[in-house]
Symmetry: C2
Subunit: 329 residues, 2 copies
Amino acid sequence: MTASLNNIVALLTQQENVTVISHRSPDGDTLGSAVALGLALRQAGKDVDFLCHDQIPQKFHYLFAPAPEWLKRKEDPIAAAKGRFLIAVDVADPKLMGDSLQALSDQIDLCIDHHKMSVEFAKVTYREADSAATGEIIYTLLCQMGTTITPEIAGCIYTAVSTDTGCFKYVNTTPRTLRIAADMVESGAPASDINRWMFDTITRGRLELQKLALETLEYPYDGRCVTMVISREMMKQAGASGEDVEGINGIPRQIDGALVGITIREKKSGGYKISMRSQPPVDSSAICAVFGGGGHVGAAGCTFDEPLECVKEKLVKAVGDYFTAHGIL
Amino acid sequence: MTASLNNIVALLTQQENVTVISHRSPDGDTLGSAVALGLALRQAGKDVDFLCHDQIPQKFHYLFAPAPEWLKRKEDPIAAAKGRFLIAVDVADPKLMGDSLQALSDQIDLCIDHHKMSVEFAKVTYREADSAATGEIIYTLLCQMGTTITPEIAGCIYTAVSTDTGCFKYVNTTPRTLRIAADMVESGAPASDINRWMFDTITRGRLELQKLALETLEYPYDGRCVTMVISREMMKQAGASGEDVEGINGIPRQIDGALVGITIREKKSGGYKISMRSQPPVDSSAICAVFGGGGHVGAAGCTFDEPLECVKEKLVKAVGDYFTAHGIL
């Protein structure tokens, strides 16, 4: 069932014990949104808990400063969720809650999300697919709930909207996004610190990985497509983490002239995970859909269980087919 | 003489022939502001011209789409300025107009600027030192002038405010900056295109230069200082331009743990140009002042006419002295 924001406010008012849930491989939007909502509900007198399949990366720990107990992973998350009102935040598909929370997938009471491509799984869903970030929806919700926007809550919302828009750089940024960011700065969000932590800090692991990855760049179709490979060996050599990969997998698309940028990352379990980024008029999600993947117009993904050369060949061919079909070649 | 915004509007209303002037080595703020003001004055029926000491870099040509004739450099800019009302935009010091416009430095009728450190040189000056960009002031002025904010003007203002704030990332960004950006997006500024052109495009020259420069990184004081060298040989090998250097000289400071990042660039004329960036509590301008340089707290510079190893040694020692004096080491 889908609901209006007023319904959601009414529904939340009735709850006493609430658990907010972020998606696996958590990012700034799922965490900022979940913590902001959690703090607002705590402000409204509820008992609030937090769950995430993964450990929270160090760089996001500042979000949890007002509730450090939420950072602690539960030995038995399913038991911890029992009898509580469960809210999945920024979760487009129950699978994205991660293995350890799969048993909760048919018990989610409320899902608040902004993804276009999504699976309905919660008892009640509130989705705004034109919001740049779930954080925008949470802010609107908090305003309707009458929450006092503390500097901590403002920092969470600011993190959510800034990270999901690449610091207001991506095409999903709207006037509303920018105005919410303005409100958050006014409410005391430490925006310049957050920006430095989120967008302006390069780990040495990332730097080393970048050096190695830049050596793998290839430029099919006269550079209108650019591919980059990140192997497990490179990760090991650089001492790099998954987060370090996040920091560099935008590079291929950024290269002057590239309409499509593809990062081909070797998975721990074998096979390859593809991160595809594109600029207009190319739709990444349409190309990834050929291989059973999906995502947004500008950023999508898919996976392969084949040798690297096959993967590269198939991807480059699919890009070429797309170019041909859309008069780009 | 300093004036109120109302005075400025009245003063502009009286003019018939106006020339707007950007500073040398033009950036997005001086160009976006000057073109926006020029278009607004043209909309108000004035004859408008534009002057800049330097050729306008290709990446900014889109700003001039509604007035491509302004892109053409004047053979004799001094003669072209004769008898016209001259407005210097984002010019903190008459020297910054560049050699070819120096003869105009005591003839500027109006200067609109946002720099804190500045020299008064115009007949009338309007300065708001708390504005993140001159573009913010221009927008406020245009609103008072009753200008219709066309998508083209909105694109110019958006460019001005976004480039001077690193796409709203730097500490100078205020709620007003973000709200002006929101207004500009609403008025039709092609923000995501502008962001892609300004912030999300890496030339192959820059990419090659980056590969080479990353090999020169050194991490004195446990990485609290990071140095990077860009030699003329590296520039040549990468086929890189001065703009490409701009794109990478922030890297040393961005490295996790770095309080000070130093880029040491070999000058065409021999010797080295230093670009120093720092994060709190370090004041770059204080360290550069040791060598006769200056700048802002977070970004400063100086020059040397000594061999590279001497330069590096002196800089690292000065950073160490600063660290010791401020209890950082």
